[in-house]
Symmetry: C2
Subunit: 443 residues, 2 copies
């Protein structure tokens, strides 16, 4: 049975996941206090169209829907129906993400965060800004702040939604038998910008996620509501062709012009932006347990992943939805937290792996005709047997009823079957005559 | 060419590795300051025969030899020529570690540490006790102590030899792109004690490492100079038969008596010792890079491993020897540190894996007649082809000229070959008639 009394829950972090979780909990009638390290972003100048955008897909929309926010969020979103690949000659190839009507959404991270915070406050959530947490007292379920002050020790539970570099997790890490890993990839990223045209139009196809796949690295671009695109270059930190190797403005210009000629010609001040902005790093964080006593980690604090499946925030939103579902039957925090981590850990490990794998797909495979044919055959299988063969991308992105861990394991079986199919003689020309039923029966 | 001026080097940690390293550096003519978190162990009561013992083998002896200490250390060591397995009925089986004359040594950790510290001081090393390091300032190559004080910022280099929970590594961990993992095994350990007999004799065979292999867990015993044995029970923390499941004195007594009858009958107060001592955990720590600017990690701080190959301290001693070798040609700390980590990381990753594998061998396989036969066949191969087939245990323990990473990869190839050999019909009776040359040729 559910908690019969109003609980006082402290959330560390007022980012996307912390804010969404606070709404879920407030809607259940609990008292929720959110402690955020930064200032209130609603009171600061934002950077207009330059704000970083995110891909919002079904699992995330389902959670937003449950708290009554999906309609408002969708209004500001730009549908992206597939990948638009740009080769070195500027030639375009479009690959749909799914069936007609299936798409992901480009949204602004900061706008989404503001909508969530406003909604949370309207439901009675208390936000405390500029509160840097130094550590957690797991016995008293209390925070120690960097100012030296302790929080009132009356919280019934603490939930750390304080991101990839979580302070709550920092306290867990020095408890005994806490498994932990942080692993960086060899690539970092820099953001660049394609402005709207002089007539305020999009300079590239609006409803697509643009990719310039270049095998060992890539550039991508997502549309913004002001008709600009935010571009992100994922590129090695070190090596013969890397952030480290491009030293002068001339190096940068030659590289960008030669590698992404169509994008480069549209960009706003790319050389000085490239030169002045430091490359950001990309980390996968895993840990276990996620809980001690009445404290729990959630979202990136428990499982930060690389961004290549567009599922980082989404996995955190799904955490909130699943956690809320478990709350229906819970009346004991440590038991609830323990059930949540057991249920959820296999899925977040799976999406961590899928996100790493998808970097190779995006930067390398999508430029390969054999790979695009494979996707076409899988789309055909899905069309013929919509329930029996669901492509991996579709399972992850559009099917919120399939767990990430199931998607990973089904996807691996599909890959083996398709590896064989692609060995068929003259597959390029005969693929429409394959025995599709025999293929789907192998799964 | 070597550093032409005297350098001032700070070492964090005055344990086994920090003390040995300080001797190496002082003998080269450098000024060395060691900062140790604990009090001076030489001024505290020690616990007599109860001190924890360690297995000292060739790679460690080679390093001690280079600083002129191996003779002194060997005097206090007890040779162990092989494993003595005890089954549930108390029946003994002896398995030699290597050839005649090859043995490992049981030594006291605290005695070894005292010998190292005394030698270091005699070479001019300055020890500073009760100095808890809070963090490292990598720009200034300086410590910040927990007292808030900063060290004089004149060190030419800092070396963190401060163990598995290294404070120096803690500072590295919050720098960008630092890969880190800490992974605990499901087993913990408690120490028990078999005293000398009434006539001050050893109550078990003196010159052996005793093992009570029980498949999913084990008890081991190492001899001490006072004719006692230090016993260590490696046992799951949780589960149907675990530290958690043995709740009452009666549970403990029934378990110990039923599982290790011969050991139990000789032990000193096992039930109350078992009950009163908390179970200690066992962790593998990996990280990279090991260095930033003029600061380096070494020993457990860079690569803590589980104890089942008896190579934790040894790997740290080998670090010191290899580091000292690189110093012969070095005149730049960051370059030297970078060369050291590149050279050494594959080897410490290898011994981490070997140590985990050896737990399964010790607790389970050594109780299996098929496994002992396999070892006998390998010993025969080694006898016939001493340079072409060196058993894995011998490579790791007795051959300091074979890198851990080589031992791991050769060992894997040997295992595959031996898996096939063990499939031979009637192998128990016909093994001496195998075509040994054909086997060794497969490697």
């Amino acid at each position: 049975m559910p908690f019969d009394k109003k609980q006082h829950i402290a959330i560390a972090g007022g980012g996307l996941v912390g804010s969404l979780l606070s709404i879920y909990l407030a809607q259940r009638g609990h008292r929720v206090s959110v402690f955020e390290r930064r200032a209130d972003m609603r009171k600061q100048q934002t950077d207009g169209g330059r704000s970083i955008n995110l891909a919002l897909s079904n699992r995330g929309i389902r959670a937003l829907d449950e708290v009554g926010l999906s309609a408002e969020i969708k209004k500001a979103a730009i549908p992206m129906h597939g990948r638009m690949m740009h080769d070195r000659a500027g030639k375009l190839t479009f690959q749909p993400y799914g069936k007609e009507g299936q798409f992901i959404n480009s949204i602004s991270r900061s706008n989404l965060n503001v909508v969530l915070m406003n909604k949370a406050e309207s439901q009675g959530v208390e936000f405390h800004f500029n509160q840097r947490i130094a550590s957690v007292d797991f016995e008293k379920t209390a925070f120690v702040f960097q100012s030296g002050e302790k929080s009132e020790d009356k919280f019934d539970a603490i939930i750390g939604a304080d991101g990839a570099f979580s302070a709550v997790r920092g306290s867990l890490q020095i408890t005994d038998r806490f498994d932990y890993s942080q692993e960086y990839i060899a690539h970092g990223y820099k953001e660049l910008h394609i402005p709207a045209s002089a007539t305020d139009d999009f300079q590239l196809e609006k409803n697509a996620l643009h990719i310039w796949p270049r095998e060992s690295f890539m550039l991508i671009a997502l549309p913004n509501p002001d008709a600009s695109f935010t571009c992100t270059l994922f590129f090695p930190f070190e090596g013969p062709l890397s952030f480290a190797s491009l030293k002068t403005e001339k190096d940068i210009e030659e590289f960008m012009k030669g590698t992404f000629p169509d994008a480069f010609s549209l960009m706003d001040n790319p050389i000085s932006l490239f030169k002045s902005s430091p490359a950001s790093s990309l980390v996968t964080v895993k840990c276990f347990p996620w809980t001690k006593n009445r404290t729990l980690l959630i979202g990136d604090a428990a499982h930060a992943i690389v961004p290549f499946y567009g599922q980082g925030m989404i996995a955190g939103f799904e955490d909130c939805r699943i956690f809320n579902g478990l709350l229906d039957k819970a009346d004991d925090w440590p038991e609830l937290f323990s059930a949540f981590q057991s249920l959820r850990k296999p899925d977040t490990d799976a999406i961590a792996q899928l996100a790493l794998d998808n970097f190779i797909e995006m930067r390398d495979l999508v430029g390969d005709p054999g790979f695009l044919l494979r996707k076409k055959i899988e789309a055909k299988l899905h069309q013929l047997y919509p329930d029996r063969w669901v492509p991996l991308y579709t399972m992850v992105t559009f099917r919120d009823d399939i767990r990430y861990s199931e998607a990973l394991s089904i996807g691996r079986r599909q890959k083996k079957i398709m590896d064989d199919v692609m060995q068929t003689d003259d597959i390029e020309n005969m693929w429409e005559h394959l025995n599709f039923e025999a293929i789907v029966n192998k799964l």
